[in-house]
């Protein structure tokens, strides 16, 4: 009977016609199953113990490929466990913009989200259910860095990572081989290389910031290499003040790099920059690995290589910026053990292989996931992540979204324009915005 009741309660909570119909369908199936279940329990006593047989799954992965990939995962899960998954796909911009109302209304049991400040924020507000019991099962599948990124502000586990993609420098192997460039491992080597490239008539470091967010990658890496991962986390959570020497140092260091970055960055999108790199007009490009999707020509795509951001002052190259996407359990979903089973399934190499078999653009987050189909570049990217001691999520995921969108974008754009930044004002704005949360 429990399964039927669950189906009914989910009908009540989501009055949307489509879910209603879907759930009625599920209900009908469950009804048909009732006599069978009753027959089972007759002999074996409390074995079933209230385990429900369906869950709802809210997905913001509305693009064709990820949508199909999640469908493959839910199908495989249903096949394995007999638990039905009702997926509600919402266009991803809508999903992100409406997350507040979604979580407070009648959310699905589990939903797609990302690690970082906004996960922590909703966890702190009590809108998510901690899943330490799930992590007891899947913990061994993840590196310490992944575990750190999945932990809430109260030290409990909340997040199941599915995949991620690292940020770093990308370049064309053939160009570097022809000119005899070598991968820099320190900041001094990087600037020396950039200078050499400039002498060769190249734009040393490709750069685009018309959309405002790409420059955050440079800021994050400089900050983590100068002040360490923890400082990055504390600064983005506004536990550290912006008005201090450590922050001004980041911008001062950046000033040494600015002359080598594409001077037209403010009028360019990252796609424009990707084209320049592909055309060998520029030497290297600091961006996320989604850059490689731009190269549809296979000879160019195979010619792309990667190296991590060079070390500067602290922690070598331990920290990697690699935004993680995965699943969370809502407050409501905490009562549904089937939802926890689903999260546990996604946290296994098996579940992630199913996802990656459809969507191969990203790197599976679990250890032991199938890497046999990886290109050499993908293998390198995966190594960069698995060797990382700490993983940051990119400024706009680690910080308050308003801080990233309304404060950092204009501040970084004006820094790119004239090399000046007012850290006092950044602090004043941060103070006001974080207080409003």
């Amino acid at each position: 009977m429990t399964s039927h009741e669950d189906a009914l309660s989910s009908v009540r909570s989501g009055w949307d016609r489509r879910t209603l119909l879907k759930t009625l369908g599920v209900g009908a199936v469950a009804m048909a199953g009732v006599p069978l279940l009753a027959g089972c329990t007759g002999g074996s006593g409390p074995a079933a113990s209230g385990g429900s047989k369906s869950l709802t799954f809210g997905s913001g992965s509305s693009d064709e490929v990820p949508k199909a990939a999640y469908k493959a995962v839910t199908d495989a899960f249903t096949k394995k466990s007999g638990i039905t998954v009702n997926t509600n796909v919402v266009p991803h911009n809508d999903f992100q913009n409406k997350i507040n109302t979604y979580l407070q209304g009648s959310p699905d049991d589990t939903f797609t989200w990302f690690a970082g400040y906004r996960m922590q924020y909703y966890a702190g507000k009590g809108l998510l259910t901690p899943i330490d019991d799930v992590w007891e099962k899947i913990g061994g599948n993840y590196s310490d860095a992944m575990k750190k990124a999945s932990t809430g502000p109260d030290g409990k586990m909340y997040f199941v990572p599915n995949y991620n993609y690292p940020w770093g420098f990308f370049y064309r192997k053939s160009l570097w081989a022809a000119k005899g460039y070598e991968v820099p491992t320190t900041f001094d080597q990087l600037t020396a290389l950039a200078k050499k490239m400039q002498g060769d008539g190249l734009i040393p470091i490709e750069f685009a910031d018309k959309d405002g967010w790409p420059a955050m990658g440079t800021f994050d890496y400089l900050n983590m290499r100068l002040n360490g991962y923890q400082f990055h986390m504390d600064l983005t959570a506004h536990k550290e003040s912006w008005d201090q020497k450590k922050v001004s140092d980041v911008f001062d260091t950046w000033k040494a790099l600015l002359p080598y970055q594409n001077p037209n960055a403010l009028g360019m999108t990252w796609q424009d920059s990707a084209k320049n790199l592909g055309d060998k007009k520029s030497g290297m490009y600091l961006l996320g690995s989604f850059l490689t999707q731009q190269y549809t020509d296979k000879t160019v795509a195979d010619d792309i290589d990667f190296f991590p951001f060079p070390e500067i002052a602290m922690e070598g190259r331990d920290a990697v910026e690699a935004p993680i996407d995965g699943l969370l359990l809502t407050k409501k979903g905490g009562q549904n053990s089937a939802a926890k089973d689903f999260l546990a399934y996604l946290g296994t190499p098996e579940g992630q292989d199913v996802y990656a078999s459809v969507d191969s653009a990203n790197i599976a987050a679990a250890k032991g996931a199938d890497t046999s189909k990886f290109s050499p570049l993908n293998k390198k990217l995966a190594d960069a992540i698995s060797n990382a001691k700490s993983i940051s999520q990119f400024f706009d995921r680690d910080a308050l979204p308003a801080m990233a969108n309304n404060v950092m974008i204009p501040a970084l754009q004006s820094f790119i324009k004239d090399g000046s930044v007012d850290v006092k004002n950044l602090e004043a704005q941060a103070k006001s915005l974080y207080a409003a949360q």
């Binding site: 992100q96 507040n100 018309k210 037209n264 979204p401 409003a436």
Partner: protein, 317 residues
Amino acid sequence: MSTSTNTSPARAQRPAAAPAGRVRRLSRRDKWVLSFMVGLPTLIQLILVWIPTLLSAALSLTRWNGLSLDDIKPTGVDNYEFIAQNYPPFWPAVQHNVLWLVFLALIATPLGLLLAILLDQNVRGTKIYQSIFFTPVMLSLALIGVIWQLFYNRDSGLLNFLLGTAGTPQAVDWFGDSHVNIWAALIAATWRHAGYVMILYLAGLKGVDPTLREAAQIDGANATQTFFRVIFPAMRPVNVIIIVITVIESLRAFDIVYVINRGTNGLELISALVIQNLVGEGQVIGVGSALAVILLVISLVPITFYLSRAFGKDKEA
């Protein structure tokens, strides 16, 4: 039914008894229909316009994370102080809105008037020209973005190609250089606004009594004098509308800068800041509401001024 039989004799008698006042008794049904027709729009107006306006005015005095209603904390005028003192894009946005107004009023609107006068001269193919100039008004936001991107793009745009600088380091970055992008955006805005003004003035010119023109010519006025002394003043109702439209357009200017770079880096406008703060991920409800209230107050000043002038004069005349 009884009411209609009662009123019909009254109606028949009244013109004789009191010819000046054409007062008619309204039947119950008339009253019902009238109150419905007045009441419904009022209700819609109230729900869709006034209540949200008052709510955002109230929210502008609070801090709220948008989660539960208990989290709303009154803060007095903190949000306004923040905007005026600590929010760097605000003052540039005000300046840009003023520049926008001046540019539309001095260049775009007169250009539209000029087009209207030219096309009013019974030029051959005038309908085609009209359609061409009016097209930008009807285009969607996304299309406008694409069109101007093709025109202004630094490396592959038409403009730099014509200037012969495309692909060279001297090429002007029309969208990325914060000294020139506001002008690029203003040209794009003019392209739309002039077409709009042109259509309104064309209608106005058609409505001017031709005998006025003839009379002016008989009195010996030349074409310029006829236009500025006779025709233009005769179009006063259209002029008022154009003024109001120009002011409103310059205050709510938004779409063009939004498609260029979402209103950052030299293209800040108050309306773009409102959107940035109220919609989407960077939501700061208190600050966004305060910006919206500021925009509302600014818009109210010119609109009430011109409308009261327009209607006031109509009453005198």
